[in-house]
């Protein structure tokens, strides 16, 4: 008791410091408990003095604390308990309820009598500091991320400009070349035909490029659609007509499976045709000679309706069918609804699952082409993106088709996504558009 009183007199100056301060005897008896600690812990010195700190805070008896305190009680060098490695040496909460984060320094003090040493714990409240540091780190990380995004966007735009110039220039070379040859008037009629064909084809190609660019700028400014009732079966066949020649030139087989009772949606027919055309021409472009392309039009409903169906989807190959149900990457697809197999939904019994909003017309275009690497899949619908710049050289084009397709599909309230098992494994593009109300009624009657 005497020692306690003596300690109060000798160490009273510790009540004047803005740190938590506590003095322990080597048996862990609390000899001093300053007013700052009283305030932090709401434990008065009357309660604390003379008691064993290990009784209230058992971690003081754990070896990692006990060993280090032992050195202090022998007059050894100061010991630090940092906030990251020991958050609460003496647990204390802030008025708002969260725990104070503490940085504690323990120094040895010669005992008031004998040649023992006491341990003086000086506890700094670093809660505010810690949060400020965290805030600063987050701010800095966000700034860095924003900077990176901006730099990346800039790079992509630079690359895009390079691609645009290249792509616009390439059709000009044959046009100019053949025009000069035509001026010489020394060509036979077969060569003249070839010259005109080439000029026409390249002029069309360039017109298409410019059209794409204009589309992008229109879409970015907000495109107006001419709303009407569109029969998707017609849309698909018209789009198909424009790519058949290109496909034949590469001996690519195109398989078509249309469910004629699906067709009607609300939308802009020329824009929807553009979507299908984009997907088809992409498929032709990236499928090697002798490959295969499948297009289907089907009606899909909710997930429950699809469950239990075993029929294969549009993919002609086993692998692709698995992919459609298994590990598929979905873009702009709120749920994980799997792809419905073609021609199955109409055979499903009508159940109470059939909610008005769950019926979609689904167009799928799958190919046996070069596929999409998992790395690139998430970016495939972004503007100005192609898997790499060398691809532009190999395949031509601006990499706008899919971005335009996505914008158009979304303007129609639909979704578009792509699946691929990776490079060389082909790809499947799926578009789903909400079926026009009345067409569903007609569908049921028929």
């Amino acid at each position: 008791m005497e020692q306690l009183q003596q300690a109060q007199q000798n160490f009273s100056i510790l009540d004047q410091v803005p740190l938590g301060a506590c003095i322990l005897r080597s048996d862990l008896t609390i000899l001093f408990w300053n007013s700052c600690l009283e305030e932090w812990t709401k434990l008065s010195r009357a309660e604390m003095l003379g008691t064993c700190i290990g009784d209230r805070y058992p971690h003081f008896r754990q070896t990692q604390y006990a060993n280090r305190l032992q050195q202090i009680f022998q007059g050894g060098p100061p010991t630090i308990f940092s906030s990251q490695l020991h958050k609460h040496v003496i647990p204390a909460s802030l008025p708002q309820g969260q725990m104070r984060i503490q940085h504690t320094t323990v120094t040895s003090l010669p005992a008031l009598e004998g040649d023992e040493f006491y341990a003086l714990l000086s506890i700094q409240d670093v809660t505010d500091l810690t949060f400020r540091v965290q805030e600063y780190r987050q701010m800095r990380d966000r700034a860095l991320a924003a900077q990176e995004t901006a730099e990346k966007a800039n790079r992509v735009k630079d690359e895009f400009l390079a691609i645009v110039s290249h792509e616009l220039r390439s059709p000009l070379n044959p046009i100019l070349g053949w025009s000069r040859l035509l001026r010489t008037n020394q060509l036979n009629s077969a060569t003249i035909d070839r010259a005109l064909d080439t000029i026409e084809r390249n002029a069309k190609l360039q017109a298409q490029l410019i059209e794409d660019l204009l589309d992008v700028s229109r879409i970015l400014r907000g495109l107006k659609l001419n709303w009407e009732i569109v029969d998707l079966a017609n849309t698909i066949t018209s789009a198909l007509d424009t790519v058949v020649l290109a496909a034949e030139a590469k001996s690519i087989q195109i398989g078509l499976s249309l469910n004629p009772s699906v067709g009607l949606v609300r939308g802009d027919s020329s824009r929807l045709q553009q979507v299908v055309w984009n997907l088809l021409s992409n498929a032709v472009k990236f499928t090697p000679s002798g490959g295969q392309i499948e297009i289907s039009l089907a009606r899909v409903g909710s997930r429950e309706q699809e469950a239990g169906s075993t029929k294969q989807g549009v993919g002609s190959r086993e692998k692709k069918a698995e992919g459609a149900e298994g590990e598929k990457t979905t873009l702009n697809q709120p749920s994980s609804r799997s792809v419905a197999p073609a021609f199955t939904v109409n055979h499903q019994p009508s159940t109470n699952y059939q909610l008005p909003t769950t019926n979609y017309a689904q167009i799928q275009v799958s190919d046996t082409g070069k596929g999409i690497s998992a790395d690139f899949l998430p970016y495939i619908f972004e503007y100005f993106r192609q898997a790499d710049s060398s691809m532009t050289r190999a395949y031509g084009g601006l990499g706008l088709g899919l971005a335009i397709a996505r914008q158009l599909v979304e303007l129609h309230g639909g979704t578009i996504w792509a699946d691929s098992h990776g490079e060389g494994m082909g790809a499947t593009f799926t578009v789903e558009l909400p079926i026009y109300e009345e067409s569903r009624e007609q569908g049921k009657e028929s």
């Binding site: 280090r68 050894g76 060098p77 100061p78 940092s82 490695l85």
Partner: protein, 217 residues
């Protein structure tokens, strides 16, 4: 890098006459002392972080302050170093420093706290942790030294500094009265963390250390 003890010839060539007094046995004894201390620190760190940390002292070298400075400049250029320093007085006066290249320091903090490395800079919170780690390692060694000397030493509060080699030693007067006794490099196995332990002792009290070491050697 040679792990061998510097030869007497090498030391003599650098004019470290007093160091000549150190025999091979004495240097071994110092090495032993530091190893015991570092071993204690390692087991304490293991316990704190819950996974094995191995601190190794592959070699110990003896330098004058100037030579040590040159050595560190050669090794770290003018890069920033993080150091934790403990100054002591009593039967031996001097300081002990734990020196890390800042990247090593930051890696170490990430490992110990399980936090993502994020950026390799050291902020106030990380510095607190590093000071604790430095404190543990230094205390391990100084603790065994104190036991050996059987005399009460006085210690200042450990301090953390981040600076270039030149500035870190600016405070140490490179005159005849000062000698760096040991430079002990340590590594944490598999973690690519490298640090140096540097002890700077004032010369007039060096005899006592040798005498104490003689007792155990």
């Amino acid at each position: 890098m040679s792990y061998a003890r510097p030869s007497d010839k090498f030391l003599a060539s650098r004019g470290i006459s007093l160091v000549k007094q150190l025999t091979e046995d004495q240097i071994d004894a110092i090495k032993e002392l530091i190893n015991i201390g570092v071993g204690r620190a390692a087991s304490l760190l293991n316990e704190m972080v819950g996974f094995p940390i191995c601190l190794e002292i592959p070699f110990i070298q003896v330098f004058t302050v100037e030579d040590l400075q040159q050595e560190l400049i050669a090794r770290f250029n003018s890069n920033y170093l993080a150091t934790v320093r403990l100054e002591f007085s009593g039967s031996i006066n001097g300081s002990a420093e734990l020196v890390f290249p800042t990247e090593s320091a930051s890696t170490l903090v990430s490992i110990l706290t399980g936090e993502d490395l994020g950026s390799p800079d050291l902020d106030a919170v990380k510095i607190g942790t590093l000071t604790e780690v430095g404190n543990i390692v230094i205390n391990g060694v100084i603790g065994s030294l104190g036991n050996l000397l059987k005399q009460r030493m006085n210690y200042l509060i450990p301090t953390y500094t981040e600076d270039t080699v030149e500035n870190l030693f600016a405070a140490v007067e490179p005159d005849d009265s000062t000698i760096v006794l040991a430079q002990a490099s340590f590594t944490i196995e598999q973690l690519q963390v490298i640090g140096d332990l540097i002890f700077i002792f004032e010369l007039q009290t060096f005899d006592q250390l040798i005498a104490a070491i003689e007792e155990v050697a």
